[in-house]
Amino acid sequence: MNAFRAHYFDGQSSRLHEVEVRRLDGGRIRIVGVGVDREEAAATLRLTPRLARTLRTIELADGARLMASHDDRLDQWFPGHDRLQRLVDRFERHAQAVAASIVVCLVIGLATFVWGVPWLSDRIAAEVPKAVEASLGDQVLGQLDRYLGFDASKLDGTRQAELGGRFDRLVAGLSDATGYRVVFRNAEGVGPNALAVPGGIVVVTDQLVDLLGDDREFDAVVAHEIGHQQHRHALRQTLRSSFVLVIAALFTGDVSSASTIVVAVPTFLLQSHYSRGFEQEADRFAFDTLAAQRISPAWFASAMRRLDAHYDSDGDDDAGVAYLSSHPRSADRIAAAEASGATFIAAHPELLRETPGYDPCAAEGLCPDEDACADDACIDPDEAEEYEDEPAAADDGS
């Protein structure tokens, strides 16, 4: 068998010729059919790379072409120049290579989103000049006023100055805190909240100031936001989301026409994944900063409980509120703050009285009524630290 059948098109007309292609001696081939009879050197012909069951095409130098079903002889007759696509074709037909490709795509895809995107965005964030970040922050601040109904604070000036002083004290020890400032805003629609805006601005709502019972809770919340600033979380988060958007858009295309949804869902999932890591980082920063100011990190737990209690009583759908809130509440975060508070007291036992919910009567027997200590409620101060872990104490204090 030294011949195969093919369709022949001469490149000048659309006429389909049924031909037979025969191999002659000396590397020549002959194409014969009704109205066609030509002889060519096989080396001048170009065979397209094999691709699944699609027809193979053999291009002649003058633009004519032959189309034929795949046949292993084709590759022997017309040695293709395209070694790369030959290899790829072999992979495509090879079950193990396909399986390996699936693994490669899934693993690298996952790794890209979990490590690659954060790594690259953080490299870029490190290169962004402070001035650029600050101007971005001013825009965000303007948007809060416009779209979330933020307006001028109703707190009186002395209160603002007092809290501002506490903010400055927290920031004072930091190495790179130029431009850090706290801004108070009245936000009826949003409620108690605090946000870190790119460029060093910490926005605190009047509603949060009203909610918090102790200024050390304010310190705790603000220290957390300063943590976001120090790690430039707002900028890094923006860059990460952009990358996810770009990558996802490259792969979906026009197959679903709902590429917005196809892109938005993974973006949202990844965003919450990334932001969870950022929250933990900011929490750790807050604990350290508070400890350095000789304030127990347990005040952070106390502030969190107040926010929880507020949002729990406010909305009937917890999941939804947690989603809308910029600080998803979590028992883990409160527990971490309590643990950090316990460590702090172990190192500074003299500050035990300065912990949230500290009850001098129960702990030291310094009760207004002497008799209250007669029963087992009186506890030696040395053992008191283990009671730090008792969360119920926090709310009873008010």
Binding site: A52, G189, S242, G315, L324
Partner: protein, 373 residues
Amino acid sequence: MHEDVIAALPPLPQPPLPPVPSIRPPRPPQAVEYPFLFDGSAAEYFRIWIVNLALSILSLGLFSAWAKVRSERYFYGNTRLAGVPFEYLARPLPILKGRIIAVTLFAAYVIAGQYSIGLQLGLALLIAVLTPWLIVRGTAFRARYSSWRGLNFRFVPDYGEAYIRFLVLGIPLILTLGILYPWIKGKQKQFMVENHRFGGSWFRFLLRPGQFYPPYLIAWGVISAWMFLMSFLMIGIIMAGVAVGGESRGAPPAWLMLGLPILMYSGYFIVLAFLAAAIANLTYNHVELDGRRFRSTLKGRRLLWIYFSNTIAILASAGLLIPWAKVRLARYRAECLSVFAFDDFNGMRAERGAEVDATAAEVDGLFDIDIGL
């Protein structure tokens, strides 16, 4: 007459011939209907897609140009008309060059948006000014490397006309608050069709641009009614919340905050699917090539279902069902398209076209400027 066509086709062993074309009397008398046939399989394309994707990733994107060529060749090579498949002839290297430029532009655009709205607006403006040029170049590239029966398609570049229809007409569009939109869309389709050639023959467009109004007017009407209903609903719920809660600060329940936009968006999505089907049918049904006519019978309902289930499947499979989604969309599109011809396609002549570089086609693809025929 069609029996002669079939007789002329040699009995190649593997690819099955299309079903015998049926004769439909009401269309142009004696014309034979030749259906488009898409013969690709999801399983087969999955292998090609995943292997090429893996290689593209491992080569940091460099292989993606080869991946594109193989993917296009698969879809072209499995689309047949009168038994003969289409061919995609572009080579990977020019595509790679185009991709590098496109990715750079896109990255600049996205990153610019993070730093300065002004810079991004500037870039957007630049892209807008380049758009007509990109459309012409992209279409010309695709046409030049599309072939059937040994003859090439060609898109004859007419930059002046492209700038009028894709940029300058934007000014009256804004001045008339968008009322001219369907007419401008019609002008654009007309331009895209009439500048295409197959071999020595010109495509002709038998529709006046004004005839694009009915589908758009219906779509606008439905969307407006839907928006009206939704905002009515939303205001009603907020009012009820205020009345019951007695507290202006109380946020509406979260399911509502998420549910209403989803409902709003899905209404939009449904209308878009129906509109896409109507516009494609209207366009194809008025294209003529030397007396041959096209017929497109896309159904909005089917298209909507395909788009919707594709979206769900892609999300649920972490993207692994993208090949399946692409294959079924291609199959449905081919199923709904046919050509009515008096001849057997054997008498058409060639015309030589010039080389067009791939940059414009790639930049277009990335910025999702989808034009179609």
